[in-house]
Symmetry: C2
Subunit: 265 residues, 2 copies
Amino acid sequence: MRIGIFDSGLGGLIVARAIRRAMPQYDYVYLGDTKRVPYGSRSCKTVQEFTEESVRYLCEKEKCSLIVLACNTASSQALRKMQKIFTGQKILGVLIPAAEEAAKFMRIGVLGTAGTVASKSFPAEIKKLNPKAKIFQNAAPMLVPLAEAWEGNNTVPFIKKYLRPFAGKKIEALVLGCTHYPIFKREIARTLRSFSEVGKNIKIISQDEIVPEKLKNYLARHPEIEKKLSQGATAKILVTDETETIDKLAQKWFGGVKPKLISLS
Amino acid sequence: MRIGIFDSGLGGLIVARAIRRAMPQYDYVYLGDTKRVPYGSRSCKTVQEFTEESVRYLCEKEKCSLIVLACNTASSQALRKMQKIFTGQKILGVLIPAAEEAAKFMRIGVLGTAGTVASKSFPAEIKKLNPKAKIFQNAAPMLVPLAEAWEGNNTVPFIKKYLRPFAGKKIEALVLGCTHYPIFKREIARTLRSFSEVGKNIKIISQDEIVPEKLKNYLARHPEIEKKLSQGATAKILVTDETETIDKLAQKWFGGVKPKLISLS
């Protein structure tokens, strides 16, 4: 059985690549719903409907026994529902691993899509582990399109605008609550540290650095799931729409695997 | 029978508002496929599939006899196909009206989404009318998300970047080949005129200024279509996904009409 990794688009490839590097022995199948990306600005009901169709494909057509929702919007709005619907498979999100890291701090910033921020899932999960933590959220709606349009230089004013509300909040850590944001990790760190009100030792919590280790630990604790996983060291990328840009982004963020077009219906 | 106006999202409301101002007597229904916006970066096949579903809804559920595809991506990639499928209704696009204006010039710039530019529909339509015209296209992928995210100040570097390739081409006119771009009309004109290589009298061809008059003329020339149109002076907005942002954008770009959520399937 393969490990399925799902994202609304291609941003999840950044986490998928990190997982594969940490555990190259398994067989992976990545599904990006490029026909309907982005999810971040859609309603909760729509995010659940779209996520269910993709998870169903991974379960039924790709025989995945373990599926990671490598999309924070889906993790925050659809994880519980998927776990209720697909009881024969294990469905994990990327939100709780980041929340566990964040809960080690007392004053935490969270940067996410409009949907993730509105769902309040990060504050809820962090507070379960650290009820006294103070959490400050801010939505960064443009960072996903900026990442997918290969925009580097022109992102700085947006990063400044989205981080500005955290200045003066004395945050000790910032959660990058969207799988695309690690692309801008260095610029985010630099901008945060440029605010005089922010300490120089602020911790950036980035899921590509956290999720692989958490998944490894999870499999070590659940040998009944681990032993089902096939070890052919393969990886494939499935997409619901194919364009030249999608091929290029997949090459940039994962490399060496050409996306294959599928239909969910 | 109503006039149907279709767009991938809410950008088409800018053209819809202009049409309604020019001919307030008719009954209008606007459909924005906000569940799957944007179309500009999707494949041609997907644009055709999505457009067909929306046009079918307007024909069958809303009894529209005349439908305007107020989306350049759909107009460039799906108009012909829709006209073949829906033979009982009249389907018009927004591309040809702009091409007719553009064809009055000899050196023409076209700014559009990746999909519109790749389709080469603007050059093809302009050349039919003015075979000797020189046409220069450039894609502006970020302008739609910038418009939908209410970004004003931070758009200037993008506008400069997208217009820069037209400098030195001695263009006499620039087609704003996407229904969202009129939002940035003033900034686009200012930026173009700031290039020393570009003449001060450059004409900006903006569909919100052209389409209403062309449609009025069309109805005057086709009384058999005009007489079918009901004259209740009403307007409604239908959307396939509903969020707070969608409601706010509809208010900003059309005003006074609350979007109603529908399902295409």
